[in-house]
Symmetry: C2
């Protein structure tokens, strides 16, 4: 959806020494892949599934670059070897060997993550799921899909389309990301408001555990109360507890109609009353409620994103809300939307200044383009410090304003330093994207922002990572969102599943 490259860079610049030391100490217990290991892997896999700079594979290291580096080119591993198993049994055999030999493993899906969770920290073995791409089954009555972890999200969408179903998940990275990676990172995305999180829609998983055991919980049941729901642990574990090889997921009937409307609000104070009114009136057809503050909107318009409202329409607007509906009847949905707009305009005082309803697919896309173009607008405007946080809805403005005031109090809200402090995000999900746009990344601004922002999030019992995960980037910041007892139990769980620490080492938990 947007790049957090700048945030990543700051962390790499700001805190490398202590973390590298810790990593080195722990990584010293892990072994590098050797030619003997390669010989062993050659017994498990065909030559085409082994990519290594070591003999006898001996490919140039450039061939490993797409695997060693993330797509933002921020995180750089030094792995010598990538394996591309085709079956769960092959994954199991690889992992078993690595566990015996204490070789670190990085499970890799589409490598579209934003926090460095999918690339090696050092020279761990990369196990790519890219060759596991079979749809195992689909039941068009129940809507339950079972697929290999390596299936690309867009491929699954394409597979489901003629059968009138959709994956209950949509992401900007859908053309590259894999369903196994989506599950492992508990991807949120654009459909969460409507279809809920993967903890609800994933019905079963097949996972290769760090000792090579295959944990087969690939059921296709909506209801199954037979003991602990272990699969939940792997949803969002970012590959640190095992490698997800198969996914059973409840898909949704494809909506027959989608509509959207952009609303201009005189004040932020109206956002929550508006959200309540929209939820009450649109109820089951509401599929997005996106907040954009005025500064963010102006930057989008300035940089040519989407179709702007008329100047007269936005006069006096403090912020904007994009509402989307998805339903089974265009006529009904439009009637509900029109009725909503009438009641909003008719109320005294009105919650909104004005609203623009899309009346064609082109307008529909154009309204979305304003929201989706915000990232690009920020990057055209300057260097953006980005925070993907969850805070209670009524704190959205307070977080933005408090951060701005804080920057101002340090004398950094000025030309040559911070230009804008803006906010936008998924109100329905409580997910705020806080952006601090500066002329340049400077240690002074960074010191002003961190840990200030994390402390602010912590004060409101929020999340320092709403949807992007922890990866290698935010392990140090975990305590701002998780208390000591929780982190302690995360470590116990990690140790239980992976006592040798081979599985995606250095991710989620600091070593």
């Amino acid at each position: 959806m947007y790049s957090t490259s700048q945030l990543a860079r700051r962390h790499l610049v700001g805190r490398p020494l202590r973390r590298l030391c810790l990593s080195t100490r722990s990584f010293s217990q892990l072994q590098s892949v050797t030619e003997a290991d390669l010989a062993h892997f050659a017994k498990i896999l065909p030559p085409s599934a082994i990519l290594s700079t070591l003999s006898p594979s001996s490919v140039p290291s450039s061939e490993l670059e797409p695997f060693n580096n993330d797509w933002m080119n921020k995180y750089h591993g030094k792995s010598t070897t990538v394996l591309k198993p085709r079956t769960t049994q092959e994954v199991s055999a690889i992992v078993k060997h690595c566990n015996e030999r204490r070789i670190g493993i990085v499970p890799q899906g589409g490598n579209t993550g934003l926090v460095g969770g999918g690339v090696p920290v050092k020279d761990e073995l990369i196990v790519s799921l890219a060759n596991m791409t079979n749809v195992r089954s689909f039941d068009d009555a129940s809507g339950i899909l079972v697929a290999d972890a390596g299936c690309i999200l867009q491929s699954l969408s394409d597979y489901l389309a003629p059968q009138d179903h959709i994956v209950p998940l949509d992401l900007g990275a859908k053309g590259s990301c894999q369903i196994g990676g989506n599950v492992s990172t508990n991807a949120g995305g654009l459909r969460l408001l409507r279809y809920g999180s993967l903890h609800g829609s994933v019905l079963g998983l097949e996972v290769v555990l760090p000792d090579g055991t295959i944990l087969d919980q690939l059921t296709t049941l909506r209801k199954d109360n037979t003991g602990y729901d272990l699969k939940q642990l792997f949803i969002g574990a970012e590959g640190t507890l095992g490698i997800v090889t198969g996914v059973s997921i409840l898909t949704a009937p494809a909506p027959q109609a989608s509509n959207n409307v952009m609303l201009a609000l005189p004040t932020f104070d109206n956002v929550l009353p508006l959200y309540k009114a929209v939820k009450r009136q649109l109820s089951e057809i509401l599929s997005a409620f996106e907040f954009i503050d005025r500064r963010a909107y102006d930057l989008a318009v300035k940089h040519g994103q989407g179709r702007a409202l008329d100047d007269s329409e936005v006069e006096g607007a403090e912020c904007f809300v994009l509402v989307e509906t998805s339903g089974s009847s265009r006529e009904h949905d439009e009637e509900k939307l029109n009725k909503l707009l009438e009641s909003l305009m008719g109320s005294e005082p009105s919650l909104i200044n004005t609203g623009v309803l899309a009346t064609s697919p082109a307008q529909f896309s154009s309204l979305w383009a304003i929201r989706e173009g915000l990232t690009e607008a920020m990057s055209k405007e300057g260097k953006a410090y980005k925070y993907d946080i969850s805070v209670p809805l009524h704190k959205f403005k307070e977080v933005i304003d408090t951060t701005r005031e804080h920057i101002k109090s340090r004398g950094l809200l000025r030309e040559g330093a911070v230009r804008h402090v803006v906010g936008y995000g998924h109100v329905g999900d409580g997910n705020l994207h806080l952006n601090v746009v500066a002329d340049a990344y400077t240690p002074e601004i960074e010191a002003c922002l961190e840990p200030f922002v994390y402390e602010l999030v912590s004060k409101y019992s929020g999340s320092i990572s709403a949807e992007h995960g922890i990866g290698v980037m935010k392990t140090h910041a975990l305590p701002y969102s998780k208390n000591a007892v929780s982190i302690d139990w995360m470590k116990k769980i990690k140790h239980l599943f992976d006592p040798n620490g081979i599985m995606n080492p250095g991710k989620v938990l600091e070593l």
Copy 2:
């Protein structure tokens, strides 16, 4: 929703010796509550929160009966002491003491379970959550409710009603069951098709772990990707990993309109095509799709449950389907329903023989009464062996027919033995209630049914307990739904959290 008392009795009759031996051996490591313990608890709790046959509390044992026995009066504990803490800190102090003293604990909610999970096996201490009944917070914008575990489901519904929200969960036991118990048993119920499982709607939990530590993950965030989602382990753990003391849950906007229709189908083969058509046309307003086979329907009519369709309407019908919609506009919903009925009647050949649409609240209730009256009809007809199972939708009829054929092949489908083999259930959830109605419970019929039915469920990768859980009743049958690796990992998780085995001993996992 219905009683499984007969099944319970069979198990108690059929397998007592081996299980009692195992239990005794393991329970021998647990200590009984003594007067010294009571003196310790008196330092933690006021006298009114301590109910014990021991001195100085010294109440008559009859006062403990409602806690020692389940509501079906099938499971009988011999606890001497019930504690009713008012705060999480009190729960923590109690548990800490019990862990040090190796006293077994049974966490008890509304005691409405069907598998004996909420009553002691021997003389464990009962910790009742009944005095923890505060709503801690409700945000009417996000719909997020935070409540003490002891809040009764109906009370929460009543609390939410004026705020136009509903708990995303509805059960027959709602007047007694508690939200903490609902979470601990991963209760399914009537709204699962629409609102999904508790794994999706529960956002946070506060849990007292078996060593007394308070695990505070009571967040109110829809999105929070900061590490392992530990709270999921406690959803459906039936109190064996800790005591849930607080719940954060996403509630849903209250629907403004509900409609239902009873459809008569010429053949079971039409159920799945019908389900697909209904899902496609009703989509976001579909809230129930209940299957009733002809024999079950006839028994309901025979015993005066609900409003029967006219004789002419049911002629030639092999089964029935009850469809319910819930939406935000009565007009729109009725239009969608009518359009659906027209298209169903108009298709050639028609998927349905006829359909009866409720046109008043009384008719709405009356159609539901047929479905909800099935349990009572079965018990009036004879002694019912009941199985609460999940199997793939297209296997519903096969499971019923195969079971009937099997009984027939053993010469038991006759007067004086088995009268009816019927099925009904939540098609939308894949949850089939298989009922074998006999003149009397006999070892011969039981031997014919078990493990036959469990093996059948296992063959279709189904669940031997779709919604009721394992409790003490089905621990022996767990392997039919969970493979050895999964059970092994359940044991490891249990041991990690509860190394002394004090927390709800003998439940979920055999000791």
